[in-house]
């Protein structure tokens, strides 16, 4: 029972990060219909930026959001404006292929830049563990959880309470009507893309101390984030949030209760089961 509790807690902590990254992808999808197959690779790019900041400039990962957020923000804007905007109206699978091309470039660019070896990032919080009852909580995971929750909270607040957030929802619900209402669709789309990337950048900063990564680990994260988005109901942000936690817990459970290689399959099994039973996601489609 103790082990189960530990598994659930660990899963929730990591799942929150998955949620936030998936929220970024969900945001991008709802605003433009683009399925970003390179999302995981952008996350890994963020991780590498954190690595370089840490090893070459001695910056602690938890300071790097000051770097990763603007860099990713700019990157998101550029990718949307110059690569994706032209083709976003086409067939979704074809657009996804373009993001796949971007993924190739990112992965191999990082290979060229930093080499093929798996890397780790050190941080202040490393090694600090708190014991609460029977559960051990690593500080790095706690920080990640709190940051992710704050980001998610900020995102929800923006969506519900600000005009900008309302314009996002309007565009998602009916693009033409939104345009007729005077919303500058172009501007909102570009801004949202950039924002989604910035969120991913901040997530990368707090995620870096938790994982080892190489140039090609992006695909794995892309898949997990895809699963979370689909299980969450594509555009239902609350659903995505919940789905991230669920997938986090399943992954933790899989790695503990199943033998090594099979453990990594747990999220996929969970995904297949959930989506067959609830094709519109955990909480349905409506956002």
């Amino acid at each position: 029972m103790d082990l189960a509790l530990q598994v659930v807690v660990q899963g929730l902590l990591v799942g929150a990060i998955y949620s936030v990254i998936a929220l970024g992808m969900g945001l991008v999808y709802s605003i433009s219909g683009v399925l970003n197959f390179a999302h995981g690779d952008f996350l890994v790019l963020g991780l590498y930026v954190v690595l370089v900041a840490s090893t070459s400039y001695g910056l602690d990962p938890y300071i790097t959001p000051l770097i990763t957020a603007p860099v990713m923000f700019a990157l998101g804007f550029l990718v949307w404006r110059f690569l994706l905007r032209r083709v976003a109206a086409g067939h979704p699978i074809v657009v996804a292929q373009l993001t796949l091309g971007i993924a190739f470039i990112l992965q191999n660019g990082m290979l060229l830049w930093q080499g093929a070896n798996e890397r780790r990032v050190r941080s202040i919080a490393e090694g600090t563990v708190y014991s609460v009852g029977v559960v051990d909580l690593e500080l790095s995971k706690l920080i990640a959880f709190v940051t992710a929750s704050a980001l998610a909270g900020g995102l929800f607040f923006t969506l519900q309470r600000t005009d900008y957030g309302r314009s996002i929802r309007a565009i998602h619900q009916n693009l033409s009507a939104a345009r007729l209402m005077g919303i500058s669709v172009k501007r909102v789309q570009a801004l949202t893309f950039a924002l989604a990337f910035a969120i991913t950048g901040v997530a990368a900063s707090v995620f870096a101390p938790l994982v080892t990564f190489g140039p090609f680990t992006g695909f794995r994260y892309t898949l997990i984030v895809f699963i979370v988005v689909i299980v969450g109901g594509m555009t239902n942000f609350l659903g995505i949030l919940l789905a991230g936690l669920v997938i986090g817990v399943t992954e933790a459970a899989g790695s503990v209760y199943l033998p090594a290689t099979y453990g990594t399959a747990m999220p996929y099994i969970a995904f297949i089961l959930i989506i067959l039973l609830l094709p519109n996601g955990l909480l349905g489609r409506r956002s």
Binding site: Y29, S30, G33, L35, L83, R86, V87, G90, H91, P92, I93, V94, V95, Q97, L98, L100, G101, I102, A103, F104, I105, Q107, N108, G109, L111, L112, A116, H172, Q173, P215, F219, L223, F226, I227, I230, M234, T235, P259, A260, T261, Y262, T264, A265, Y268, I269, F271, I272, I275, L276, P279, N280, R285, R286
Partner: protein
């Protein structure tokens, strides 16, 4: 009602002629081996296209069929000395049933294109995990194939010989593909692809035809998976059981022209040798550069040739061969109107908010 046009036959014959001529121009066994690899991947792309392109069953589950075609003959040959041809046939039949099962699953749970794609991708990932995690299936080291492929006394031990064998198989699946496209079966598949609800409303038996398309596609995929492994004499799980390979196949097909007959052929024929040769020339000195260039090529093709290379070629040929086209333009027909079939935008948008079916 099978009416394959003369035009299609001519195209197939031209393709066959080009393929037959290739070995006479290429003497170097190294380039021949690239040619064999290209042929194998063309076969896989054309097979996948029957389900993914014609019927809109965007499936990554084909990884399972490739794996079946690769592993079953290997295991049966190693442990029981059974001829790979027989086991490839068995693998094809099993894959056909499995393919139909996936079609059933898609139908039963009313999965839209995207969800079906991702569920099958989930299965593909599972396949990799299962294969690499199970020692008797080769684990992560894979399996070594005991003997070369042979028919009667003829042993396929050189790339040139294997090339002819694979070429014949590719021609077979191409003719099947052409025949399907020209038949009522093919029409039903296109209807399924474009609008399942409408197809159902007209009375097309959705389950039956999507199952047939997956079955045919799966069987051929298994065949080429087997040929692939037998040629390399090594079952590499990180190739044949990997969703990454599947994604490449889908990528080549899409870049060439999803849902067309020659799209998968052109896509594979252009991008695979490009990648291989780039990798050989540049890959050792600058690792990753070939893939970066491939990525750029992908972006270029998607940005400027929305319906794939086939569409691009079509409009090029159309604009050259129909220079006195003023009358046509005035009558509203597009430059590519004479291409069979008219290649409009191929798929409906995936509606984010629709409850689907």
């Amino acid at each position: 009602m099978r009416t394959i046009s003369i035009r299609s036959w001519v195209q197939v014959c031209v393709f066959a002629a080009l393929c037959l001529l290739l070995p006479t121009v290429v003497a170097d066994q190294y380039y021949m081996s690239i040619a064999v690899l290209t042929m194998l991947v063309i076969g896989l792309c054309v097979s996948w296209n029957i389900a993914g392109g014609f019927a809109g069953m965007f499936s990554f589950a084909h990884t399972i069929f490739i794996a079946l075609g690769a592993i079953l003959p290997a295991l049966l040959a190693i442990h029981h000395g059974i001829s790979p041809w027989l086991s490839m046939l068995v693998a094809a039949l099993v894959s056909a049933v499995a393919g139909a099962a996936f079609a059933w699953m898609g139908n039963k749970f009313q999965l839209n294109v995207l969800t079906f794609a991702l569920v099958t991708l989930g299965f593909a990932e599972l396949t990799l995990v299962m294969v690499t995690g199970t020692r008797s299936l080769g684990g992560s080291a894979g399996l070594s194939i005991p003997g070369q492929l042979s028919i009667g006394g003829l042993v396929f031990d050189t790339p040139s010989k294997t090339y002819y064998l694979v070429m014949v198989c590719v021609l077979v699946v191409l003719i099947v593909s052409v025949a399907i496209r020209a038949s009522k079966f093919g029409f039903y598949l296109i209807a399924l692809r474009d609008n399942v609800s409408a197809a159902r409303g007209i009375g097309i038996p959705v389950l039956k035809y999507s199952a047939y398309s997956m079955a045919v596609s799966a069987a051929f995929t298994a065949l080429f998976g087997g040929l692939y492994t037998q040629y390399f004499l090594y079952m590499d799980p990180y190739r044949v059981a990997s969703p990454i390979f599947m994604i490449e196949i889908v990528l080549f097909t899409t870049l060439g022209g999803l849902g067309t007959i020659w799209g998968p052929v052109i896509g594979a024929a252009v991008f695979l040798p490009l990648g291989e040769i780039l990798r050989a020339q540049v890959g050792s000195s600058v690792p990753g550069l070939p893939e970066i260039l491939t990525g750029f090529a992908v972006i270029l093709v998607v940005s400027f040739a929305r319906t794939g290379l086939v569409g691009l070629l079509g409009s090029l040929i159309g604009s050259i061969s129909r220079l006195p086209a003023r009358r046509r333009e005035a009558s509203g027909e597009s430059m590519t109107a004479n291409l069979d079939p008219p290649e409009r935008a191929l798929f409906p948008r995936i509606e984010p908010n629709s409850g689907k079916e």
